[in-house]
């Protein structure tokens, strides 16, 4: 009844072929099958945002997506964005602004923040808040995260904070 399903997908630019059970979600597939543990698993029902990854260019909750649904998809995780240097400035701004403490939410925050900056290069603080509204942080109180995203946005469009 619950047979393994063959899937083939692209993860951070590398082809991956696997046999997975239908019940396996994408977050667990990335963490346990591919050892990409930067994607975190928090609430497992779509509320906390710690498992945010990109699928075909759009951010999604990897705990609310089955690995079998990612067949033929292109998946990018925090490891991919980090290694490519795409978010090096955003990561530096998070460090400089103390926008993380325990770091559990940080991969998801970075994915969501970069998604905003790709769509809207010069967001105001309200737009930043709204775009990150699906990502919980229990350490920082959010202000420092908003600061870091705002600083990065301004630096990228070449205006001083």
């Amino acid at each position: 009844m619950t047979a393994h399903v063959e899937i083939s997908l692209d993860v951070n630019g590398e082809r991956v072929d696997a046999h997975v059970l239908p019940r396996l979600n994408l977050a667990d597939f990335l963490r346990e099958h591919l050892q990409l543990t930067g994607t975190h698993v928090g609430c497992e029902h779509g509320v906390c945002g710690a498992c945010t990854v990109r699928v075909n260019g759009d951010i999604v909750r990897s705990c609310l997506m089955l690995a079998v649904q990612a067949d033929n998809a292109s998946v990018e995780t925090i490891e991919g964005l980090s290694d490519s240097g795409e978010i090096a400035d955003l990561q530096a701004a998070f460090r400089d602004r103390n926008a993380l403490q325990c770091g559990f939410c940080t991969p998801g925050m970075l994915m969501a923040a970069q998604d905003l900056l790709r769509q809207c290069p010069a967001p105001d603080r309200e737009q930043i808040r709204e775009h990150l509204s699906g990502n919980y942080c229990r350490c920082t109180g959010y202000q420092a995260i908003i600061d870091a995203v705002e600083t990065t946005a301004r630096a990228r469009v070449g205006t001083k904070p």
Binding site: M1, T2, A3, V5, L21, P22, R23, N25, D28, E44, H45, G46, G49, T52, D58, I59, V60, R61, C63, L64, M65, L66, V68, Q69, A112, D115, L116, R129, E130, H131, S133, G134, N135
Partner: protein, 293 residues
Amino acid sequence: MKASAFSYARATSVVNALELLAVHGDDAKVLSGGQSLMPAMNLRLISPELIVDIGGIAELKGIAVRDDVLTIGALTRHVDLQRSPEIATHAPLLTEAIAHVAHPAIRNKGTIGGSLAHADPASELPACMVALDATIVIRGQSGERRVPARDFFTGIYETALSPDELLTAVELPVARKNSAHFFCEFARRHGDYAIVGAAVQAIVEGDRFADLRLVFFAVGDRPVLAGAASKLINVAVTPEILSDASAALEEELDPPEDQQATPSMRRHLAKVLLSRCVATLLGRPGLAAGVSA
């Protein structure tokens, strides 16, 4: 938690999906965007034996306008609605409401068909469908049927859909001349389910409402089309008339109690939304003065 074990079938067409549902009935669940189904499965609120994944069925996707009818395919994602110029032109209530549906990462996966079939009474889209007088298009093995949105929602997570049927599309009348809309909700966090919300479609002629479809959500087991609106149609609205309508609204609502709010708090917030709605649509801010949330 993790979802319990299930079998998985990727439907290749609507006909194929209906065949699978006919065989497995109640034991099967339809997977669209998964943004309501997956949480329920991960929390083990439901444990279907078979998941029928309709995500790849091309005929269920897309937005089209023909003969004053806006048709939205069931697999149209929230983000597609949000960005659609057709929706912005012909059903701007939806464009405004969709920004309140969860968060960007969820809007990138969640679909209109999934949201309507799930029928959470605190969610935005069912209320919008009732306000817009939408028709829900349903396919079964014996053919297609159309159900008005106001009859489609029958209870908490309950709809007119049978286990062997598929919601394939919704049809909306395009916005008429003098159409106006209003959407507002109170939620703990932007994107959370509403404590109380209102989705409203109106026709405003001069200084009065020629039509007013006031739909409240998170105040009952389904979207509530408020009868109190009748007191505001085809009259010059005065503070007294608004106050009468507000009292009638309070009378007709029977909101639930949960960890977010008491029934009396929900009634109060619904009245606040009514005042704001009327003041906004008639362009008379004074009507909402003295009412605060």
